[in-house]
């Protein structure tokens, strides 16, 4: 097989690919807060003991893991694309998992 590909998995929190451009991360934060507001905390049934239900919903929109093609040894992105890592609930240590498939 002459193709190679790469899997990037970031368990536990969120990762996504989008363009690395000015203002976008702030726009994502504001937008996610509108789609899945943190407050009022009691609106979520999950929030017993902890209050991070909204983080679970936000992560669902943004994604958990990304899959990126590798071409000639490089991540095959659009001109401004990049992999980002995010978190909305930072209680625990995180780890990043990278798997490479192919030759």
């Amino acid at each position: 097989m002459g193709h190679t590909s790469q899997l990037e998995g970031i368990p536990q929190l969120l990762s996504f690919i989008n363009d690395n451009e000015t203002g976008l991360h702030h726009d994502f934060e504001v937008w996610l807060e509108k789609l899945a507001p943190h407050e009022p905390v009691k609106q979520y049934r999950h929030n017993v003991g902890e209050d991070n239900a909204d983080a679970h919903l936000k992560r669902q929109v943004m994604g958990r893991e990304v899959v990126v093609a590798v071409t000639e040894g490089k991540l095959d992105f659009g001109p401004w694309e990049q992999i980002f890592y995010g978190e909305f609930d930072s209680r625990r240590k995180k780890r990043v998992l990278v798997k490479i498939i192919g030759e």
Copy 2:
């Protein structure tokens, strides 16, 4: 290649990875109903003959297939992560497709 990985594809409906924690599935349902309400059915152009347009939208938020790394023979999850299967329109029989890539 010393890496192994696993693809889990659930065609037709939705599958996602999130934490297996109390109340979360109820929170997902309420949230998705807010993001893509079933009623009024006529708001969607797709709903001619069937009325499941909202199920198509909800699935877009939640995801169709999941990609999970396998490390030392185990699905490589965060501490509470699990693969879930969901459906919002249960007219037909479903099947789960699992593909394993690597050695």
Copy 3:
């Protein structure tokens, strides 16, 4: 390994798998415009020089790349599933990247 799988990556804009059914694409457009409205353009901090912040958000909901299993030489879809390509900001030429993993 007796399994084959296929990665389809469409860098730069959006791609997704859903059913190829009447009215759905219109419903997606209306829905995404509600979730991440283009106007007012000034609501997004990214919109300095360009005005496509909403396109970045919409793409996050719909997805960037799709992963499809291949079984007996065919894309393994549900009965009505198909891969779609979309764009909300069409300034540049696009390319489609397909990677095939397995035997």
